[in-house]
């Protein structure tokens, strides 16, 4: 007899934490099939994708560099997602954070200024929050769908950045390339390990994990967010404010995405140009779900997703496969995660016999 799905009496807590691993495993299997179908040695390709980047210290530091913006954005998004506030615009908020922080850095130029980095951090956070405030305002005042508004604003942000670096902010000595001048020394985050790109931004991400953990797991406002996400009518009955949860969700997303933007331009990049983010803000959505909207889970998931960026690069260099492999693997991860989440509320059962083993525990509850 075919295996069939049977509803669980209660959702399985084990599966909540197990399904991300199931999804990763299924992605690996699908990857093997994919590489084989493309005519490559599947084991070698998969090793290059997932293992090689972790074997060098350069790879490990790069992993953290890539994971930093992912974790920051995903942490911010998770606050909203828990409250059913669907901020899909972390990418735009990241770009605005980069523009604000970059604007400050460019205004100061090469002058020696120890206060510059803290100001840039604040500017980045404010920039991201302002961009996220637009969907929050439209949602709370006019009930406009925040998914659409925040998503579309991402493209507006991208165009705004393009305008700035092609126009007013273009480096006059830059041979007409669409990029700003390099930031001064005071505007760059210090390196954590000399000779690598690993910079102090990674510490911001760690601090943010702690802050969001307290907010979501121990604060009363975090509880309100959770209730609003799970049962809005219960939230209304308890007297929690939907508008407050919408604002909190979007502003947290905006602040941390904006911070991620600042970290990118003041860290590994050091200037503004049109490609400051390879879609970190969008990938962060996958990171948030893969990490189960839990701060520690997001930390792990962020490192894992960063690996797909590195793996894509390595694959391109070693086997000449297109970089789109990164997107393919990210898509497969999300796809398998959503699919295997069915196991949280269901279990697979073989044969036709019903569950009788626990039948005697409660007979009157039907």
């Amino acid at each position: 007899m075919w295996p069939r799905l049977e509803a669980r009496p209660e959702r399985s807590r084990v599966m909540v934490y197990l399904t991300p691993l199931v999804a990763a495993g299924l992605t690996a299997v699908a990857g093997l099939i994919l590489f084989a179908a493309l005519g490559h040695d599947p084991v070698r390709a998969l090793t290059i994708f997932f293992i090689s980047p972790l074997t060098t210290s350069f790879g490990l530091t790069e992993l953290i560099v890539k994971a930093t913006p992912l974790v920051l954005c995903a942490l911010g998004l998770s606050v909203g997602f828990r409250g059913n506030v669907w901020n899909i615009g972390a990418e735009g908020q990241l770009i605005l954070g980069a523009i604000f922080a970059g604007g400050v850095a460019l205004a100061v130029g090469d002058a020696e200024a120890p206060w510059l980095l803290p100001v840039m951090v604040c500017a980045g956070i404010v920039g991201g929050m302002l961009w996220a405030a637009i969907p929050a305002l439209l949602r709370t005042r006019f009930n406009a769908n925040e998914i659409l508004v925040s998503l579309m604003l991402s493209y507006v942000a991208s165009l705004l950045l393009g305008y700035l670096v092609h126009g007013p902010w273009r480096d006059p000595d830059g041979f007409n390339f669409p990029e700003t001048a390099l930031f001064g020394e005071s505007a760059l985050l210090p390196a954590l390990v000399e000779g690598t790109r690993l910079h102090a931004g990674a510490l911001f991400a760690l601090v943010a994990v702690g802050v969001v953990w307290v907010l979501l797991m121990h604060s009363f406002i975090g509880f309100q967010v959770k209730v609003m996400g799970m049962a809005p009518r219960a939230g209304g009955y308890a007297g929690f404010s939907q508008a407050r949860v919408v604002w909190l969700g979007l502003l947290c997303g905006g602040a941390l995405s904006g911070l991620a933007g600042m970290v990118e331009v003041a860290g590994p990049i050091g200037q503004l140009h049109p490609q400051i983010s390879p879609g970190y803000g969008f990938t962060a959505i996958i990171v948030a779900f893969l990490g189960r909207l839990h701060p520690l889970g997001i930390l792990v998931a962020g490192l894992f997703m960063a690996l797909t960026y590195l793996g894509g690069d390595t694959l391109q260099i070693e086997m000449g496969l297109p970089r789109a492999m990164t997107g393919v693997f990210q898509g497969m991860i999300l796809f398998f995660l959503l699919a295997s989440d069915v196991l949280i509320h269901h279990r697979i059962r073989f044969g036709s016999g019903p569950a009788r083993s626990r039948a005697s525990t409660r007979t009157g509850g039907a």
Binding site: K226, V227, G364
Partner: protein, 535 residues
């Protein structure tokens, strides 16, 4: 066509389990031709599941179904209809934006022209005195009319066995009597009727035999005419029905009321809602005011206005402990001493996926030290939840159990306990015992009476007249968004209340005596909300 003495429907050893629960345990049942047979049991006894097996919606794990003495396998509702089994569900499956005929057409197995179908609907409805106009839209129909549509739809298939699942739960007493006339006629034609209910009075009036289910097992098959309501209840529950303690003398009328609603007008905020018009009420300390009414007559809007989920422009329209509160949000009203037991247990009164501790926090967050400097105090929260669990005998593994894993009665005890342990001065409770087993219902009633005796003002909105008669010091009736004057409970009869439920506020004595409700079926249950009647 069948030899006499052969049951029309016979069930032998039916077993059915859902994950973790044995819902039907070796149930035997026989329904004779021309018999009206009651299936009696508390919520959760396995009645609905058994009927879904007969109707082909669910498959039994083991056991036999015999139709006219021959074993059959009913694999789908269509197969059941082909055999001659028709079912009228408790929750109607009608599309509001379609006409009666269009709705009926959707349920047919074979295509048929609407004109021809309308003709048949008219013929059937005239034949049985079920006034149903095939060209009317369903949203225009009252609940009783909608039920008639469902019955006509069922009769069009010329069934020889008609199953009705708690048909009177949505009807006024008068509508229920009209339904009984129709059922008696159908029985007279030799059709069998399987009547699912937990209302003892109406079964004693209507049915020839009654099978009692308890905890999934068949306890007894009896002649309900030979039994008393009390003896049937004992079979259903397994123990004697607990008596509520003696009612105190009515509260002093001279004390100032703690909850006042004055000339409240509220427009509906969704198209299927009800406008409230000129609603006034007052509840004094040490008093329970009961509001009776069929669901959908404005109870929902009234609850939202009282709890603060919906604000009203005129602050003075709602006063809690003397303070104008119409403009206050739920939190501020709780600070004035208000506690609320909402209409729906899961999703409103409690979040199913959260633990009992977190659900305690849901409404008790202002209570001593659960939240400090914006952080949730974990130990205090679990402590409070444990106190609720112990004080109200909630059967749960611990304060870590998810609210959704509790049975309806236990969760309701938890919600009521959570509100009462906050020592409210005013408690507003909607349908406090709907879908709750008799033991829990008695405990909940006792808790409400105790709270009243400690001097709180209690407002109970319910469709269950028995409940309101047991609890209330005064009773008012809500119908069409208007609220009748309240009267002392001993001064109103069930018939009066029944008429008021039909909206006959202005009728004088004549109407009051026109309908005598026999040994009246007085209990009503809400038509929506609450957990499903299946594991």
């Amino acid at each position: 066509m069948t030899a006499p003495g052969v049951p029309r429907l016979e069930l032998r050893g039916i077993c059915k389990s859902f994950p973790g629960v044995l819902v039907n345990d070796r149930v035997d049942l026989a329904v004779m031709p021309g018999e009206s047979h009651a299936l009696l049991g508390e919520n959760g006894a396995g009645k609905s599941t058994l009927m879904k097996i007969v109707n082909g919606v669910l498959a039994a794990d083991s056991g036999e179904v015999l139709w006219d003495g021959r074993p059959v396998r009913v694999t789908s509702p269509a197969e059941a209809r082909r055999l001659g089994i028709g079912m009228v569900f408790q929750h109607f499956a009608l599309f509001e934006s379609l006409t009666v005929a269009e709705n009926v057409a959707l349920g047919l197995d074979a295509a048929e022209s609407l004109d021809h179908l309308s003709e048949r609907i008219r013929a059937v409805s005239d034949g049985y005195g079920l006034a149903v106009a095939p060209d009317r839209h369903v949203h225009e129909l009252s609940v009783g009319e909608r039920q008639r549509v469902e019955i006509v739809r069922c009769l069009l298939g010329d069934p020889r066995l008609i199953i009705l699942d708690e048909p009177t739960s949505v009807l006024t007493p008068r509508e229920a009597l009209a339904l009984f006339d129709v059922l008696r006629r159908l029985r007279g034609e030799g059709r069998s009727i399987l009547y699912i209910s937990h209302k003892l009075d109406e079964i004693r009036v209507l049915c020839d035999r009654a099978s009692v289910l308890r905890g999934g097992r068949l306890v007894a098959t009896v002649d309900p005419g030979q039994e008393t309501a009390r003896s049937l209840a004992r079979m259903m529950i397994g123990t004697d029905v607990p008596d509520l303690t003696q009612r105190r003398a009515a509260a002093g009328v001279e004390t100032a009321p703690l909850l006042v609603v004055e000339n409240l007008d509220v427009d509906r905020d969704d198209p299927h809602g009800t406008d409230l018009r000129d609603v006034s009420l007052a509840v004094r300390p040490g008093e329970i005011l009961g509001i009776a009414g069929v669901a959908g007559n404005g109870q929902n809007a009234l609850m939202r206005v009282l709890s603060g989920e919906r604000l009203v422009a005129r602050a003075d329209a709602v006063r809690i402990a003397g303070t104008p509160a119409g403009h206050l949000r739920p939190r501020a009203r709780r600070d004035l001493g208000l506690a609320v037991v909402p209409e729906e247990r899961l999703g409103q009164g409690a979040v199913p996926d959260l633990s009992l501790a977190e659900n305690a926090l849901l409404s008790a967050y202002r209570h001593g030290g659960l939240v400090r400097r914006g952080l949730v105090h974990r130990r205090q929260t679990h402590g409070f939840a444990s106190r609720v669990i112990h004080a109200f005998n909630v059967i749960a593994r611990s304060s870590d159990s998810a609210a959704g894993s509790l049975s309806g009665g236990n969760l309701q005890k938890f919600i009521i306990g959570r509100e009462i342990l906050q020592a409210p001065r005013v408690l507003v409770a909607a349908h406090p015992t709907w879908g709750v087993d008799a033991g829990s219902a008695a405990a909940i009633h006792q808790a409400l009476v105790d709270l009243r005796d400690r001097g709180a003002a209690v407002l109970v909105i319910s469709q269950d007249l028995d409940e309101l008669y047991t609890l209330s010091d005064r009773i008012a009736v809500i119908a069409g968004g208007r609220l009748s004057e309240s009267q002392p409970t001993h001064a109103v009869t069930a018939e009066d209340v029944g008429l008021l439920m039909g909206g006959l506020f202005d009728s004088e004595g004549g109407a009051g005596t026109a309908v005598r409700a026999e040994s009246a079926p007085a209990r009503m249950g809400p038509s929506k909300g609450g957990p499903a009647d299946v594991a």
